[in-house]
């Protein structure tokens, strides 16, 4: 198992947002995380990516606990995320946005910067080439010098994914990657996500509201409601699960 959540709970004051969440994600698996609004999906993301630390339970990546690690340390361990409301470095160029993610692999020190030693040029060249290769994969390389914040919404979402990929994740967390996109854009994005999953042998955890899309792409689904996992399983299992139907549609009141 790549990632394991054991009894993970988080509480803000008296409010239990996530309650004893138990689940796991295998290498190369694409898992969808769904649930009604306010179910705790984004909070789960914040827990896994280290922004919040769980009040109870443990998150284990490749057998090692992530307990007490800060968000940047979790990212360096290989769990990298995107955000529901895009958080690009908006005044930086697209290329620089992606290069920021590579800073963790920066092997030159201040001396190399100040004296412009060959090491500096070698590393910079390598980073740039890698970044452009990633951008080409998403057909965004022609935009590399544009200010990230000035680009259309859909493009920014893709740049966020490229930026996350540049950090060499083992587990990629995508928070509503298709939000605000039209049908053809969404289809294209989903094909791309599937492609990068295979190419980089990534595990992907995906929050998505578009049911048709998430059912089509995911190997497995986790359904959250009121902070608890109410169902886990393959898309077809989930579709027929009465608890899930209840959470989404409610039950008919019997008089």
């Amino acid at each position: 198992m790549l990632l394991k959540l054991e009894n993970v709970s988080i509480q803000f004051g008296g409010l239990k947002v996530i309650e004893s969440m138990n689940t796991s994600i295998a290498q190369g698996e694409l898992v969808g995380l769904i649930g009604p609004n306010g179910a705790g999906k984004t909070t789960a993301f914040n827990l896994i990516s280290g922004i919040y630390s769980p009040t109870q339970g443990e998150i284990i990546l490749e057998g090692r606990s992530l307990k007490g690690l800060k968000a940047f340390e979790v990212a360096r361990q290989g769990v990298i995320r995107t955000f529901q409301n895009i958080r690009l470095f908006s005044t930086l160029s697209v290329l620089d946005n992606i290069l920021v993610s590579m800073h963790q692999r920066c092997d030159y020190g201040l001396a190399s910067v100040f004296l412009k030693l060959p090491k500096f040029f070698r590393a910079e060249k390598k980073f740039q080439e890698e970044a452009i290769k990633l951008l080409k994969l998403f057909k965004l390389d022609h935009l590399k010098d544009h200010e990230a914040g000035s680009l259309p919404y859909g493009v920014q979402r893709k740049i966020e994914i490229v930026r996350a990929l540049a950090g060499k994740p083992k587990l990629l967390l995508l928070d509503e990657p298709a939000a605000g996109m039209n049908h053809s854009e969404t289809d294209e994005l989903m094909n791309l996500i599937e492609r990068i999953r295979k190419e980089f042998n990534l595990a992907i955890l995906l929050i998505e509201h578009d049911m048709k899309l998430v059912m089509g792409i995911s190997h497995r689904l986790i359904v959250l409601d009121h902070g608890e996992i109410i169902a886990q399983g393959t898309p077809s299992e989930i579709q027929n699960n009465p608890k899930v139907i209840e959470a989404y549609l409610g039950v008919e009141e019997t008089a």
Partner: protein
């Protein structure tokens, strides 16, 4: 080999300015020129923290004071070079002053950089005042009387030394902000949560910027001490920090070129307006100075250059990027 060109440029510029100053300028203008060099160190280094890293510090005068007093005290007791080689003492003093200041920056930075925005501004302001009050009450460094008789001249070599530091500061900071570290600084400014999630150790990055910035502020203090030959705690009041902030904001936060422009304007403007008094018989300088700043904030709040550098100002480059 590419690394050499920058240094050659720094030496040529520093030498050219110094020659010009010695041949054509009177001592009064030479003094202003020295202040420009010192302010270049202060403004560009403050820009690293305030402009590039997005952390609003108001304590630059404090760091300058630490550098100035450390360097002054060392210079009174330690003169390794004498005679014609005397000038070589001053880089040593500047490095010692800068290092003392960098050390202070490290210890101030670690607790205070957890704060952001106004809170950080208040803490750094408080730090600057503490330093000043401590100096005011320390008899070893002359207390309120200050320190006198510090070594330092205004000859060609001294001028070259000051402008070499100015040029070096610009060169090193330019290289820094155009490296992976520079991108890390900018990412912290733009969105520290996103930066953290991309593996950037934001605390470390902020402390790093703060320490480097303090080093150059300390070196500026050393240059100041030996340019004026005397020191007084009154030179390092809160207003001094604000002056540096004005240079940075006027020129454009996050633009080294902008800081240079800000330095030249803010240093020269009050002096250039001095003759105005002959006509008006009252001192209008501060009125004009503040009007300029108010108009600036209304018309172009991002500063004269915004975050653009000299190479982005050329029209064809701008067109290409737009």
């Amino acid at each position: 080999m590419r690394s050499i060109y920058g240094w050659i440029l720094v030496i040529i510029v520093a030498a050219a300015i110094s020659f010009y100053a010695q041949l054509f300028l009177n001592p009064y203008l030479q003094q202003i020129l020295l202040y420009i060099a010192i302010n270049v160190l202060l403004a560009t280094s403050l820009n690293l923290v305030n402009g590039f890293c997005g952390q609003f510090s108001l304590g630059h005068a404090g760091f300058m004071a630490i550098g100035a007093y450390t360097s002054a005290m060392v210079s009174l007791h330690f003169q390794p070079f004498v005679g014609s080689l005397e000038i070589l003492n001053f880089p040593i003093y500047a490095i010692i002053g800068g290092s003392a200041s960098a050390l202070a920056g490290f210890f101030v930075g670690i607790p205070s950089l957890r704060l952001r925005g106004d809170y950080l501004a208040i803490v750094t302001l408080g730090f600057g005042e503490i330093i000043r009050v401590v100096l005011l009450n320390l008899n070893v460094v002359g207390g309120a009387r200050g320190l006198y008789g510090l070594p330092g001249k205004t000859d060609f070599l001294s001028c070259f030394h000051a402008f070499f530091w100015a040029g070096m500061t610009v060169l090193l900071l330019w290289r820094l902000v155009h490296s992976s570290f520079g991108r890390a600084f900018l990412s912290v400014r733009e969105d520290s949560i996103a930066a953290e999630c991309m593996g950037i150790n934001t605390t470390r990055v902020k402390v790093m910027a703060f320490v480097i910035s303090s080093f150059f502020a300390g070196a500026a203090g050393s240059l100041f001490a030996h340019a004026t030959n005397s020191l007084n705690p009154a030179s390092f009041q809160f207003v001094k920090s604000v002056d540096v902030v004005i240079m940075v904001v006027l020129g454009g936060m996050g633009s080294i070129t902008g800081s240079l422009l800000g330095v030249v304007l803010v240093t020269i403007l009050p002096e250039a307006l001095r003759p105005l008094q002959n006509y008006t018989h009252i001192d209008l300088r501060m009125v004009i100075y503040s009007l300029v700043l108010i108009l600036m904030m209304i018309l172009k709040p991002s500063g004269l250059l915004g975050s653009r550098e000299w190479n982005q100002l050329l029209w064809w480059r701008r067109k290409g990027a737009a």
